[in-house]
Structure formats: C-alpha cells, structure tokens
C-alpha cells in the first residue's frame, strides 16, 4: 500500500532540526575576520591608516540593520521607522554620558547601553500595538509616522537635546572604570564588536528556537498560525520590542563612540539606509545586515569621495536592480553560487 513509505529514522530528523542552530565554519570565519580587522586597521602595521572609528560606525549601522532583520526578515513586518529607536537610544546614552560629566554612575557606557535598551524597548513595546493590525502600507506609514514624530520632538526639545546642533560635550567614562575611549578608536572598536556579538548571539538563539520558527510561520501565513494556536499578537509584540531595544543599543553605541548625538541619528534617511543595507546584504539570514553595512560604507566612501550626488544615484540604481533581478541580496546571491558549485541546490 502507498500509505506507509519507508522513512528515514526519526532521531535523524531531530538531529537535522537541531543542526540548524549549529555554528558553521563560515560563521566562525566571519567573526575571526572581524577580530582581524582590529589588527589590520588599528595602526599596528606601518602604512595602513587607522580606520577603527569608521569600523565602529559600521558595527552600529550593522546592528541597526540586524534589528530590522528580526522584525522584517523573520516576522515580516515592513518598517520604515526603526531609526526612531536608534535615535532614541543615541539620545538616552548621550544624555546620560553628558550629565554624568564623565564620572562613574551616569557616564558609564554599559549603564548607558542598558538604559538605551530599556527606553527604546519600552518605546517599541508601546508602539508595537500600532503595527499589529493593518496592511503593509499601514504598517509602513505608522512606523514612518512614529519616527517622524520622534525626530520632530528631538528637534523641538532644544533644552534637552540641543535641537538641530545635537548634544554637545558627551563624555563617556572608561568602560567598567578600566578602559578609556582613545583617539584611535581601539577601545571603541573592541567595545562595539563585543556588544555586537552579544546582541547577535542572542538574536541567533532566538531565530533558531521554536519562537523563531513561529515568527517565520506568522510571516508565511498568519491565518494558519492562529489556527494552530500560535499567539500571533503576543509574538509580534515580543519581537518588535526586542528589535527596538537592539536598535536602541546600536544608537547608544554610535553616540558613545562618536561622543555626540544629533537629529541626524533619528532622521528618516537613517531608517531608509538601514532598511536598504539589510535588503542589500540579504534579509532573513542575520548576517545580511552586517555584510550589507560593510559594503554600504565602503561603497559610500569610494563613490562618495568623488561626489555626493553620484553616491545617491548609484545607491538608487543598486536598489532598483536588486529588486528587479536579485533575490535575497548579496548573501542570497552567494548562496545560489555555492549551491550551483556543490550541486546541492534544487535545479531551477
């Protein structure tokens, strides 16, 4: 009878499910490379200029894109307002550092990060209820609207935020009272990389858990997800809140390492850039945002050095071509090549 075909042993299936969460060699390679960058661009090799400040900035941008990946790549919520939480985190950390006068309790970078995560997370929690209902378009406009309101607030509350000039005199105290931020960005880079890794590791645990699977299910078919008993709204609120907290941490990192916070950090183009970075790198892989951020900033440096207008033009062109011809961004492209190379992938 056709009913019961012989199937692979059951423990095999469990092992394969579990192996989804195992670290792969290319992941290890990625993080080793990130550490290696410290030595290459850290003013240790004569002739190679120090670029650690730029790299720290890339980390902050990548972390922001990672937070969007959690919401968009996994849970399928289209957002144009992640910059709101980023900017909020930047201002919280900046204000704490500034008012702490570079002394321990308030100006401590780690406390600043925690506070930024808490405030941004709280803002994410409150606004998450606004994106539960509605179509992609409503979600897009609501997230954009929230971001615009916050940007306008940052601009108007001059007494607190310094208005259009931004916060002046942000001074972070040494991390844990030991490592002070130096001019070359040694501390900044190591600090940023450690924070990035912790956030990444946490996100990675989450997307490879049952919770993460339920997010993908919601993205795929919310109606069916409800019918099998997934508490759709609660899951979306949870991931949106977490992503907002991570975006806040990303903003706090930028404020602490650049010792400033400005309306630029909360503006629309921040959200748009981060979304673009994620899509460019590839959404739904976690690494897409990080790789995208590196490529984005390198491209920006190379092309932007010629003229600023050129940069925007090429950026737009890349976006258009990406949407028309490439699925899954850079990582999707590499995955396709790799599958063809090893002939593992299902033939088109």
């Amino acid at each position: 009878m056709s009913m019961t075909q012989p199937t692979k042993p059951v423990n095999d299936a469990g092992a394969r499910l579990l192996s989804g969460a195992r670290w792969r060699w290319y992941e290890v390679l990625f993080w080793v490379a990130a550490i290696a960058l410290f030595f290459v661009f850290g003013d240790f090799i004569p002739g190679i200029p120090t670029r650690l400040m730029l790299l720290s900035e890339i980390i902050s941008l990548g972390l922001l894109a990672l937070s969007i990946d959690l919401v968009l790549g996994y849970a399928g919520i289209v957002t144009l307002g992640q910059g709101a939480f980023f900017g909020l985190g930047a201002y919280v950390a900046g204000l704490m550092a500034k008012n702490g006068m570079g002394a321990f309790p308030l100006s401590d970078p780690l406390l600043g990060l925690l506070a930024a995560a808490a405030v941004s997370g709280a803002a994410g929690f409150v606004t998450s209820f606004l994106v539960l209902r509605g179509s992609d378009l409503t979600r897009l406009m609501v997230t954009l609207g929230v971001a615009l309101i916050l940007a306008e607030l940052a601009n108007q509350m001059r007494w607190l935020t310094g208005g259009a000039d931004g916060l002046q005199g942000v001074m972070s105290s040494p991390i844990l009272g030991i490592w002070d931020f130096d001019l070359w960005g040694h501390t900044a880079y190591v600090y940023s990389l450690v924070v990035l890794f912790v956030c990444f590791w946490l996100s990675r645990r989450i997307v490879h858990s049952t919770f993460g699977l339920s997010l993908k299910a919601i993205k795929g078919n919310a109606l069916r997800a409800r019918a099998i008993g997934v508490p759709v709204n609660a899951r979306l609120v949870a991931i949106y809140t977490l992503a907002a907290a991570i975006a806040g941490i990303a903003g706090a990192l930028l404020a602490q390492t650049t010792q400033s916070a400005s309306p630029d950090m909360i503006a629309f183009h921040r959200s748009a850039d981060a979304l673009l970075i994620l899509v460019f790198g590839g959404a739904g892989y976690l690494y897409g945002g990080l790789i995208g951020a590196v490529l984005f900033r390198v491209m920006q440096d190379v092309i932007g050095n010629i003229t600023l207008q050129y940069w925007q033009f090429w950026l737009g062109l890349v976006l258009v071509l990406l949407v028309l011809f490439v699925r899954g961004g850079v990582i999707g492209l590499m995955e396709g090549w790799w599958n063809r190379l090893t002939r593992k992938g299902d033939a088109p």
């Binding site: 469990g14 499910l17 579990l18 969460a21 993908k216 109606l223 609660a234």
Partner: protein, 252 residues
Amino acid sequence: MTYVLETRSLCKSFGGIIATDNVSFNLPAGARHALIGPNGAGKTTFVNQLTGVLDPTSGQILFGGEDITNWTVRRRATAGIARTFQINQLFADLTPLESVVLAISEREDAGGQWFKPLGAREDIVVEACELLDTLGIGDVREARVGALPYGKQRLLEIALALAAKPKLLLLDEPAAGVPESEREQILNVVARLPESVALVLIEHDMHLVFRFAKTISVLVNGALFCEGTADEIARDPRVRQVYLGEEDVGHG
C-alpha cells in the same frame, strides 16, 4: 446529554445578506457528520463562526458545554477545535516537519520557547514524525512545503489540524482540487481518523459524503434544511430536489 458542539440560534448577516439563518445544531462525541448544501449555502461562513474567524451576529456557540461565542481563534484552537481550509493555508517556506513541530509545540505550550534550539524537545520531534508517517507524507517531511504536490499539501493540511489533538475536527472539502491519482490516499486518511475525534465534513462531493458520514445536515440559504442519518437523507425527496442538477457541478 452534553454534545461536543452546540450552536443555538446562530445568525450571521453581511449588510443585508443573511449568510447563517438561525442555525441550531448539535454534534455528539465521536460523530461522523457531514454538512452539505448547494453552492453559496453558507457552509464555510458557518465553519468560520465555529472557529472564531467570524463573529456571529447573534446566537451562541457551545463547545463541550462551555460558551465559546466570544473566544478568540487561538483560544478555540487550544481548547480542541481544529480545521482544515478549503484552500490550502500552509507555511510555504517551512518544511512539513517544521510546520507540525510548531503545531505540536504550541499545543504543549512550548511554542514561546526562545532560548533552546529547535528540535531540542525529542518527544515533539518523534510525535511529529509519527504523525507525518501515518498520513503518508513522512518521505517529504524535510522538503519545502511550497514545492510539494497538491495532494501532499492537502494531507499536510490535515496533519496540522491533527497535531493539536483536537476533540473536534472540521474538514472543509479535504479532497477539493486533488487529482484523481492522489485522491484515494486522502480518503484513506480520513477514514482512519481516531474515534475520539468528532468529525464534521463540509463537502460537495456526494460520493465522499456517503462513504464517511453516519449523519448529515443539509444547509440551504444559510438555514438548516433537514437533518438525519445518511440513509434518511439519501432517500429524502426534498434533498434530491435541492441537489437536482447540482451534483455534477463539483466544487464551490
């Protein structure tokens, strides 16, 4: 006696159109019941109210004696009402195994587990594999759902519903659109569903209905037209009249 499912004077109207007209309906435990009716009789609307997708305009729904009229979709699902959809509602980008593991995890209240990796609960994986095997789709459990043949997708629909270990299973045209070659497999699965599950088959295909159903309700224009055992309904001249010329139409 208490029924698995009861509706009391259930009404639903859309604007001026009455889709469910004062339906009072009882379903005993372990039932093999079919809900039939011509196109547009309001069968799917009725099911949508039972599962909570639509709110009734008036009336009551009881499940195991408890009033569930105002419960959410999810709460009803966890309480033991499961359904399949007339049009496949699956997770195209997951595998059948992942889909069923998720459904079982939610039943076991382990769906919110965010730190342990997927597959850490061996009992859930074993149960999922067994379920997929009983439905005869164990061989494709790690393929992408979206790439499966239609018949296998229909079976996965049933698997997802069964994963909740439901007390009541609503099958909305389980074999609709399935090619003849894969049809028998689905019919076998339906025939072998455990006695503990009360079954309501929403169908258009009379052969299928008379093959499985012991009792039948006929829905016409949103109202209960008549009820009875399969034999009674088969002999009822009024039912024949309602279906005159309808039997060949096929689906709806």
